[in-house]
């Protein structure tokens, strides 16, 4: 075992030898220590001292982490309330993250090629529409032509729409035949020209560029993304403040302990550590709760989302946060908790200093 005097170092970490107060260096070894340390050589002694200090540092961290966790359990109601607030504040951005991820996955699967949908006059016969679509195939400026006949349109509507029974009220098929064409020139300037040209063709009721709403959706998604970043930032700030305030109250409730510890030689780092750990636990536990909330919400949404997706695309599956998203969420929450407690600690701990300024326990009876 290393000699006891070596342990009189701050467990928080090594100090550079040069800044060590000379009074410490001059400390006359107590007789028993002098005897113990006599046979050791300098370098060896130094190595043991460092190893010992590291061990003591690790042990202290483990103890403090455990005690901080136990302390949360000592006030279960207050801790749970704080954790619930944290969980909700963290779950919202987490949920937005997952939702945006899903929407992006959804839109990425889409064909970026702009189609033009030609809605045909319902008075035209199937045969004339068929021959019209064959004529379109001959045009140089279109790369593909796809005809969705009135009958086919009706079948698809019956299969996928919730308003299938609406069709029963019609005597005959109300749906127009649609011809989807893919222009060769996808230039945003050329596209409307092609569209108006096609719209002017006889038999065409309306021509719509299919791309427009995809572009609008992309713009809306970008806005939603930016919005969720702003919201996420605000909620992160809320987490910081909630943890900061909770830790501040813990500091107040342990004022005497802080003062006495400082009086018997605790360093700032030593005093700070339990509070940083409680912030870390708040962040991590709040993050885990938030993760559970997000997973629960996704579970509830999975079925209707799937049904909706089936209407549009066959192979869309609702995605959860994924491993990376989950880890990001937990790490972010832990970091926020730690930062929140750091804010409180750096703000309030320095104020608790034994001396006249604090009228607390440290001030002795007379002057």
């Amino acid at each position: 075992m290393a000699k006891p005097e070596q342990k009189e170092q701050d467990a928080a970490g090594p100090r550079p030898g040069g800044t060590r107060p000379s009074a410490t260096r001059q400390a006359a070894p107590r007789p028993s220590e002098a005897r113990q340390s006599a046979p050791r050589r300098g370098a060896e002694q130094h190595r043991i001292q460092l190893a010992d200090r590291r061990r003591s540092w690790r042990r202290h961290h483990l103890n403090v982490a455990r005690e901080a966790l136990l302390r949360l359990k000592q006030t279960p109601v207050a801790s749970l309330m704080t954790l619930a607030v944290l969980a909700i504040a963290l779950a919202l951005p987490g949920f937005l993250l997952a939702a945006l991820g899903n929407l992006q996955a959804l839109t990425e699967g889409w064909d970026p090629q702009p189609r033009i949908a030609l809605y045909m006059n319902t008075d035209l016969s199937d045969a004339s529409i068929d021959s019209f679509s064959r004529e379109l195939l001959l045009r140089e400026d279109l790369s593909s032509v796809e005809l969705i006949s009135r009958q086919k349109g009706l079948e698809e509507f019956r299969q996928y729409s919730a308003f299938a029974d609406l069709l029963e009220r019609f005597d005959n098929n109300p749906l127009p035949a649609v011809i989807m064409v893919l222009p060769r020139d996808t230039d945003p300037v050329q596209l409307p020209l092609v569209r108006s040209e096609l719209a002017a063709l006889p038999g065409v009721d309306e021509a719509q560029i299919d791309m427009e709403w995809v572009q609008r959706l992309a713009a809306a998604l970008a806005l939603a993304q930016r919005g969720s970043y702003v919201l996420g930032g605000l909620l992160a700030l809320a987490v910081l403040l909630v943890v900061g305030n909770t830790v501040r109250m813990t500091i107040e409730s342990r004022r005497d302990e802080i003062l006495v510890s400082k009086l018997v030689g605790a360093t700032d780092a030593w005093v700070r550590r339990p509070f940083l750990y409680s912030g870390l636990w708040f962040g991590l536990l709040g993050g885990i709760l938030a993760w559970l909330l997000v997973q629960l919400a996704l579970l509830l949404l999975a079925q209707p989302a799937q049904a909706l997706a089936d209407l549009y695309l066959n192979h869309f599956r609702l995605q959860g946060l994924g491993i990376q998203g989950s880890l990001t969420m937990l790490a972010g929450a832990t970091l926020l908790g730690l930062s929140g407690s750091w804010l409180a600690v750096s703000r309030y701990l320095r104020e608790i200093e034994p001396g006249v300024a604090t009228s607390g326990v440290a001030t002795a009876g007379d002057v």
Partner: protein
């Protein structure tokens, strides 16, 4: 070698009150002395300057070889680890056992838990309270609480032991016991400085006596 040296030390509080006015003295290593004077004479301020709970307005305080005015804030804990202090109101923490109170200075300094436990029990044994180690200090009598405070002050075997009115609330017999305890620590080489206004007790002890009056050192011997 001087354990404590005051060189023309003044202390004026922010309130404008002068607590110390040009105090000069030296306490040799291994010496035992009493600091006496009326309430408000500056005894506690003097002790607090040694602990760096206060900084002097003027003058210099030395502890061992260390000029305290050159000590940075971050080095204060290492100074305090060399000093044991017994407070008048004993400053015990009532949220933990007697044992944990006594072991606190060792925990703070990063002692190995087994080693710390051994030392804490040795200190409690020395003040005769080993049987009470698991009790909460709040269940102890005033005299016992004061002895726990002493055990905590000496658990890390400081070279310098300070005490602020250690017998303040005790009856004469208990006071005598406590003083005898301080005498024992002094006899194994610890420098001891005790602030007390219990003159009858001090006079019987036959040690050096520093007398403060209105912030000035008026008698030494």
């Amino acid at each position: 070698m001087a354990a404590i040296r005051f060189s023309n030390v003044f202390k004026r509080y922010a309130s404008g009150q002068d607590a110390l006015l040009g105090v000069n003295f030296e306490l040799e290593s291994g010496e035992m002395a009493f600091l006496t004077g009326h309430s408000g004479a500056g005894k506690s301020t003097l002790l607090r300057l040694i602990m760096l709970m206060e900084r002097p307005s003027r003058g210099q305080v030395w502890v061992g070889q260390q000029d305290l005015s050159r000590l940075h804030r971050s080095q204060i804990p290492y100074l305090r680890r060399q000093i044991g202090v017994v407070f008048q109101n004993h400053q015990l923490l009532f949220d933990r056992s007697v044992f944990d109170n006594v072991a606190l200075p060792l925990q703070v300094s990063g002692y190995d838990p087994a080693d710390a436990a051994r030392r804490a029990r040795a200190a409690l044994d020395k003040v005769g309270l080993l049987a009470r180690e698991k009790h909460n200090p709040v269940t102890l009598s005033t005299g016992e609480q004061q002895r726990v405070g002493i055990a905590r002050a000496i658990v890390h075997k400081p070279k310098l032991l300070l005490a602020d009115e250690p017998t303040g609330n005790l009856d004469p017999e208990l006071s005598e016991d406590i003083m005898r305890l301080f005498g024992q620590f002094n006899s194994i080489g610890t420098t001891v400085l005790i602030a007390s206004h219990d003159l009858s007790l001090i006079n019987r002890m036959q040690h050096r006596m520093l007398t403060l009056r209105n912030g000035r050192l008026v008698a030494d011997g």
